[in-house]
């Protein structure tokens, strides 16, 4: 039987008359990396805030590491590590002391703290910066330090709210590498993101949130298969040309116009002849379907409405 790091049942959050999270139920298995996806305002960060006990639950139940967030916030917080969306390292302290001071709040002994801080600095390749003030570190280093800080008490569950937002590609890949290594070590992770490539790279299972509700749930691969199919043809053609091209076969295909691009979903066999007919991949690009397509299909219409 699976053990769960997080179990949410009919979880709801109201801010006045606004419903931010609308009765969602999901569970995170121990050892997996679980993704909460959704556009801005979908309710991801509010869910995270409830999970980290910094926002009271309006109704429903939320159990984290076996403890109810409403009844036992101190126990919940002692078992989870939190990487916030907005960086909140302590600018008055150098790198090493940032970790030490934070570790102290968990009631760890001085000896244990020294040892764990050494381990984390090494794992996140920050040893050379131990004495530097944190505002002299690069964005990528600060993000790694935030993750190191969240792991200092060896939590059951690592909660990451937009872990790579604002990072350059190299720094993102370094963070991803380290999150995958943590996954291999068996650290359960729950992350929010609106980068689809990030979710595809890291997550075993995903739920897509929209307007505070769960739209769909599954592994990245099954979501792509179920909602976007095998291949996508991106057409950047004027409407008249597009109709000419799709005219005969159009009704049989699954076409999603989105801004000035039309996305045609289907099999390799159905789409390859169309791409060949245009013969210019600037104007007709055939590529494998991705999580991004799923995301746009599921939430895109909502944004247009």
């Amino acid at each position: 039987m699976d053990r769960f790091a997080v179990e949410a049942v009919q979880l709801t959050k109201h801010f006045g008359d606004t419903v931010a999270v609308d009765g969602i139920s999901f569970s995170v298995r121990e050892g997996e990396c679980f993704g909460l996806l959704g556009p801005n305002g979908a309710g991801k960060s509010t869910t995270i805030r409830m999970l980290t006990c910094s926002s009271p639950v309006t109704s429903g139940q939320l159990v984290v590491s076996g403890h109810d967030v409403t009844k036992n916030p101190r126990l919940v917080k002692s078992r989870i590590g939190v990487v916030p969306q907005d960086e909140n390292l302590d600018p008055d302290l150098p790198t090493r002391q940032n970790l030490e001071v934070y570790a102290r709040y968990f009631g760890l002994s001085r000896e244990v703290i020294r040892q764990r801080v050494d381990e984390q600095l090494e794992f996140f390749e920050l040893e050379g910066k131990a004495k530097e003030k944190v505002d002299t570190l690069s964005g990528g280093m600060r993000r790694r330090l935030l993750i190191a800080r969240a792991l200092i008490h060896e939590p059951n569950l690592l909660v990451l709210d937009e872990p790579t937002v604002g990072l350059d590609p190299q720094a993102r890949h370094l963070v991803w590498k380290q999150l995958r290594r943590l996954r291999e070590r068996g650290v359960t992770q729950l992350l929010t993101t609106h980068y689809m490539d990030e979710a595809a790279q890291l997550c075993d299972r995903i739920v897509v949130l929209h307007h505070g509700k769960i739209l769909t749930e599954g592994s990245p691969r099954s979501l792509v298969r179920d909602h976007a199919g095998e291949r996508v043809l991106e057409l950047r053609l004027p409407a008249s040309e597009r109709e000419l091209l799709l005219g005969e076969v159009g009704d049989a295909l699954d076409i999603e116009p989105y801004g000035d691009v039309a996305y045609v979903f289907g099999s390799e066999a159905a789409l390859a002849p169309l791409a060949d007919r245009v013969g210019d991949d600037q104007r007709a690009l055939l590529r494998p379907a991705s999580l991004e397509d799923v995301f746009l299909r599921l939430t895109g219409r909502g944004l247009v409405e």
Binding site: V82, D86, N88, L93, Q97, Y105
Partner: protein
Amino acid sequence: MSALLTVLTVPDVSGAAVHVWQRNFDVFRRIWRTESLGIGLEPWIVIVAMGFGLGRFVELEGGESYIHFLAPGLMAMFPMFAAIFECGWGAFMRLEMHRTYEAVLTTPASVDDLVTGEILWGTSRATFNGTYILLVLLILGPWTSAIDSWWAVLILPVAVLQGFLFSSLAISFAALARAMSHFGYLFNVIVMPMFWLSGGFFPLENLPGWAQRVAWFMPLVHSVELNRAVLAGDLHWGLLIDVAWLLVGCWVFYRIALALMRRRLIV
């Protein structure tokens, strides 16, 4: 109404409050060299300017020297400023600019731990400050004769009491403030009137009756009153009213601080 009722509950304080205090102490240990010059110099300048400079033009009843009259007030004002800066501006920086509070709350520490640790730190700074000024006045003793009695050491518990009270008041304000500029209200509406009208610079009896009654509601008036009595070694039962005033003030403002900071941080 529910905000009022939370005042009746027991604060949710654990050992993590000490770690909040420790964090501030760690930072202080890193910066005290640069800060201490300003803090260290100020009382000397004020004593020279007010006591020896201005003091020559002031005649008091019974031939009391002005610095002798001023000393109890200074010993209340400096700790007040220390507490207000630490738990007002300092707390707001950690709350809003640096988001240090948000980070602390992801650990087992509660909002009550956080606020209590901050207030204890403000209290420590105020007490440290009071101790320093006591030392300065002892050193200048031969010229100022500001300290008449061994009871003067009791200004330290007075500094603790008012340090706690002003720290609570300041952090309550930090919990309400939305921008640094809002601290202008704290300073101009609360701190400065108390500073000038607390009976530190001139005897309160010189004010009209209504103004004296208004002054009774200012916390600094009571710490100045207590300091004046212990420096002179003039202990009497009436002082218990001032002590009681400060104790009640500490509890009330502490509970207000907890309630306001919970409302600010847990949404």
